[in-house]
Symmetry: C2
């Protein structure tokens, strides 16, 4: 029997306990031995909770119990969670986590600490909720040079964009709907500004490069400026708008990376990912494209991914689980050099100026839109695009990358 401690009895933590309980037989079969939750660490009390007897408030109870081989860190943040994770690993206890902030920031350090103490730091649940993606990258797509990874990694923004597209709603109204449904937080900044997706793509990009990609160096743009007008033009052009997180290897040590809205061709597999679903499209040099799709969040789905890591640890107690993520930092290329075609929405009066600023582009006018038009440029460097837009002044009402 393997004893497990769960640190943080919130949504994911209580889900972990529930999954281990509900699928006990299957988990024992897959792990090769029984897995038991021995302790649940939380500062709060949970009177009447069926697992109340396992609740502890002092992390040392867990650290000092040599029978606890695996710890699930479902606290979040990089404060106490970091200290506890580091301490557990240094005691040779493997840590399985859903904490993307921690993984993005301290991934290589914690992987190294785990290795030095013959245990594991696993984080399948940190990206894409229950969608298997970390293990497929580490264990399945091993014969590939991964060329790029593109994902819809945030369910909240994807829900908002789907609502805007299908019900012709403004961003504010769609956000309010997402908040009512519990898909968006009261303070939605981390989601709608793209910061959540940025952490996740930093994790995936790091695994692609085998080197550390600093999430804070990834240029990031959220969805707050997207309007129903943009969706009207997208629809007319056979496109939709998604918040994409992208990483593309340029060389051994450098990559393009970005989080931004993209006006996607409807034929793209990512265009069909709607509502709270997430998807990750991986391009390999032999494979071509493979996509992993599912609910990117949710208590039990995320918990299931944490428990799959617990099972992996149990199968591999005392062994190595391969994970290429060195501390050496890979360089995120200057976004100004990224080449891309653009959709521009501009005042109708600016049509001639647009044609001059973006030669060979194509204008799209809709009969029910008297004031503005859409313009689709040829591929160009981002810096050149920005300059051209500046020269057009306030006749430009908005722009979105094409993909």
């Amino acid at each position: 029997m393997v004893k497990v401690a769960v640190m943080g009895y919130g949504t994911v933590g209580s889900g972990v306990v529930e999954v281990i309980e509900k699928n006990k037989d299957m988990i024992q079969k897959k792990a090769g031995q029984e897995i038991e939750v021995a302790y649940i660490l939380d500062l709060r009390e949970f009177p009447g909770d069926p697992y109340e007897a396992k609740l502890v408030h002092d992390v040392n109870v867990i650290m000092e119990d040599p029978e606890v081989k695996i710890v699930c860190e479902t606290m979040g943040g990089t404060g106490a969670a970091y200290k506890f994770t580091k301490a557990a690993l240094e005691k040779g206890k493997s840590v399985c986590t859903s904490n993307k902030e921690m993984v993005a920031k301290y991934g290589p350090e914690l992987i190294k600490t785990a290795r030095e103490h013959a245990c594991h730091y696993l984080f399948e649940a940190s990206v894409g909720g229950g969608i298997p993606i970390i293990r497929p990258l580490n264990d399945s797509l091993t014969a590939e040079k991964i060329e790029s990874i593109t994902g819809i990694l945030n369910g909240t923004t994807n829900y908002i964009l789907t609502k805007m597209e299908r019900e012709d709603k403004s961003f504010d109204v769609a956000l309010a709907r997402a908040q009512e449904k519990g898909y968006a937080e009261h303070n939605p900044e981390a989601d709608v500004e793209g910061y959540d997706a940025r952490r996740k793509i930093a994790i995936l990009a790091s695994l692609m490069m085998g080197k550390h990609v600093d999430s804070e160096k990834i240029p990031t743009e959220g969805i707050t400026k997207i309007t129903p007008a943009d969706f009207a033009y997208a629809k007319a052009a056979g496109r939709t708008i998604k918040l994409l997180a992208r990483a593309k290897a340029i060389g051994e040590n450098s990559l393009e990376a970005m989080v931004s809205p993209v006006m996607l061709d409807k034929e793209s597999p990512l265009a069909m990912v709607n509502f709270v679903y997430n998807a990750i499209l991986v391009k390999g040099n032999m494979l071509g494209e493979a996509m992993f799709y599912g609910k990117g969040a949710g208590k039990l789905a995320t918990a299931s991914a944490v428990v799959s890591d617990v099972i992996d640890c149990t199968r591999n107690l005392g062994r190595k689980i391969p994970c290429d993520w060195d501390a050496q930092e890979a360089t995120v290329e200057d976004a100004g050099n990224n080449v891309c075609a653009y959709y521009v929405r501009a005042k109708k009066s600016a049509k001639a100026a647009l044609l001059a600023a973006f030669p060979e582009g194509e204008a799209l006018e809709l009969p029910d839109r008297a004031e503005d038009l859409a313009y689709f440029t040829k591929p160009m460097a981002h810096s050149a695009f920005v300059s051209a837009c500046e020269s057009l002044g306030d006749t430009v009402l908005g722009s979105i990358r094409l993909g």
Copy 2:
């Protein structure tokens, strides 16, 4: 260094050699040591081939070389390939294969033989080409009770159906186009009658159950009877038609399984899988749905999956790689009991009889179709559906399950 032999220098076998050569550095990094192709077994000569020097015609050269630890079986069939696979495993050489026929038929026996000789029988490439699905089922979705697996597992039929839908072509014309493009074989029976998809769903169903599912016991219906009229009604109903391979666990030892065309709601994630792409939708009791998508065939994609198995073997020489697939057979339920709603195309004159035979259903008539109509039944047992259709005689022109 690990020495590998490739048995069968056809499309996939030559792809394996190419992948190992082209991604040498990455593969060495992932495997932890260099992987070298030592022998290529084929009865044919390949004068001028860059790997001609490695060509052997006698399998014993491979069997008797103790340095060969891993064999890739890319011959196909269950004749010589079976004998060679068995012999290799009995000598403690791991076998990695793309041979779905072999895996579906002899999977549990060969897995057992491998275990008894401390080596591995791996088959990631047998389903979905380069799409990671076998390893995710064995290693990632381990905390789940898998409730069902539904896949578009045959690229040829999916290409034909996509062509029929988009270009209003008949089955025969779309098949001919697929043959011209090299997507369908001269004798297309195994694809269009669903036999290829049946083997693949048998493999996935076996992994879901942990028990053997005999592919020949899976009721199978191909796509030869689908007509442009069916697509016209599907379109009007917000649906499309796909050849689905499905398995659904009923109990510990029994399952529903089937290969058949399904008229799918356009919102289904499988509805958006077009042309030669494949996808596998896995439903777990905690996770909900996850989907794995990509090209289901192709030389390099399939070879990449074989090589990922070679890397897995190399990482796990002398260790166990978990795979639950016992020889004990799971029972495929009588298809007559399967409950499903149906689309029926019938002569317009039969409208009243349809309403009587299938109460509470819904008729759909299209202005440009004078002779027939579509009728959508409520869910009912397959046996009851068949009886009702028989009672309607030749007024029924076709039927497809709804999904």
